[in-house]
Symmetry: C2
Subunit: 322 residues, 2 copies
């Protein structure tokens, strides 16, 4: 790799950065050895890293703005699942070549979401290689208020935000050649919306939370194991997105909803007394919160359709991606 | 990419993680959607990300422990250059295949340095692809005490820790086939030591700081531009490592010291009254701090050897790596 190329890559890092304006919490912005930030007194920090790799997590032909949006969204979704408010992020970008138009699109998609979520890009590194984006996100939450996976109690409701399964069907449509980016299912896959406001609203109400990245059953399994409990699902209660019901038979719809990943909805457990309040809070965000079952003693998931029984309940279901 | 492979990669992430013991600041460790940490009251956070790519930043054949050590060291060095104390890090690891022995070595090298520096690995993501490691590091420093690149004043001393140039010569020897990992020059290249204790000691003394990653002149150039000043170097004063003087002619030695990168020494500026104190502080760490010139009004670097004059003073010199 030539030195000239490296300098170009260093320039790209600067090009992708945007100075955060009007943020007193950013003491030293991008461009020094480190960024320096001032955490909020009385708060703790939630930190997570997610790498998005071409042809694993997103298709190479996806619009660059969607690639930028999606790489940040999947990382922010982890903050949402802890109930944290997004604050700062870093981006490690590996690129096979420098295409200014493509990079401008990537930056647009990344920053549009970052600005909407109040998550300033405070550090970056750009290297040459196969396309991937590693995003480390930092959120804040009042001390002691983190939503973990481990707090579910027997008798709690299990509830999910929005309409999971849309992204999995969007991916299927993409793979079948659909390229209308305004299509709501394609949009659900390419531009998932991290449920940050919902996560904050559920803080103090939910007993446990996880985001649906691997699939509803897979992620429910993670939550159940962390909490040491089981679940009884009510299949009739699953929220079914209209475009899924309109085009798929009921088995296909169930499979999308239960096994499809990539939606980045929140899956939470709630003490019975907290459900109505939680639904009201999320209704104010125009986001449905649907109870789909209860936490029970033991382990594993009851109430699954025939095709899902005996497969273990989680990772086996998770479908794969780009 | 098969689902089975993905699960394996997820397992690797767990395998590389080590629970932080006895750390009250780690509220939620690895394994939930996010780690949650409790920042220290009265402190600010320094954050930086560095990606190390195979055959760009390290040779593919380097020992895995050195690859793990080095990827963390180059990131920690940015904390050192701000005067921050290392606290937490995340690792985004991309791997072409799973080799348990190699991974165990990588983890050993990474964690040995992490533990020595008090930098807990609190989050990770493992994906399949060409080998690279993106490390995001988090350090703490008392509010308002960050060492930036921008504070150098006319009349300040310019000083450097240790003996820069050793890593560049180590890389040259590696490329010539030297494989004795105990060789001090190879060790300087493969296992650079981030100058964290020195950075903390220089806080409140140095007026500006940067770490030497691209080469002494290149990084001096970054510091000068950020501070809006120039420099007059005293070539006779350059610290010359014994193994360089013993084997290279004086032109070659100068070139290694001025243009060689990868040493991760600290380059700082100091008000005249602070130099002796700073040297005493670093002597207690068994680290020399050598004055090599003064900050002057204007821009650029004076006092360069003939071969370096007219080349601009910085990026042109930076040599390339693995």
């Amino acid at each position: 790799m030539s030195r000239a190329a490296l300098s170009e890559f260093a320039l790209i890092a600067r090009y992708l950065a945007r100075p955060a304006s009007g943020r007193a919490d950013i003491v030293v912005d991008n461009g020094d050895d480190c960024a320096v930030i001032a955490p909020t007194s009385g708060h703790q920090l939630a930190i997570s890293v997610d790498t998005s790799v071409v042809d694993v997590h997103f298709p190479a032909a996806a619009p660059p703005a969607a690639i930028g949006h999606r790489a940040l969204a999947v990382a922010l979704s982890d903050l949402a699942a802890m109930g944290a408010r997004a604050r700062w992020c870093t981006l490690a970008l590996t690129l096979p070549e420098i295409d200014p138009d493509w990079l401008a699109g990537l930056g647009e998609g990344f920053h549009a979401l970052a600005e909407r979520c109040g998550c300033a890009l405070i550090g970056g590194d750009v290297t040459r290689g196969s396309l991937s984006l590693s995003v480390t996100v930092h959120g804040e939450l009042p001390t002691g208020s983190a939503l973990t996976r481990a707090g579910a109690q027997v008798g709690d409701w299990i509830a999910v935000t929005g309409y999971p399964g849309r992204a999995a069907e969007g991916l299927a449509r993409w793979q079948q050649g659909e390229r209308d980016l305004a299509h709501p299912l394609l949009d659900a896959y390419l531009r998932p919306q991290p449920r940050l406001a919902a996560g904050e609203a559920l803080r103090g109400l939910a007993s446990a939370a996880i985001d649906v990245s691997d699939g509803l059953l897979a992620d429910l399994g993670h939550l159940l194991r962390a909490s040491g409990v089981g679940a009884q699902l009510d299949l009739e209660a699953l929220p079914l997105a209209t475009p899924l019901r309109a085009t798929l038979d009921s088995d296909q719809v169930q499979r999308r909803v239960l096994a499809g990943g990539d939606d980045y909805e929140l899956l939470v457990t709630l003490p019975p007394a907290a459900l109505a309040t939680a639904q009201q809070q999320l209704a104010a965000l125009h986001l449905p919160l649907t109870p789909i079952g209860r936490i029970v003693a033991g382990e594993g998931v009851g109430g699954l359709p025939e095709a899902f029984v005996g497969l273990g309940g989680w990772d086996h279901f998770a479908e794969r991606r780009a």
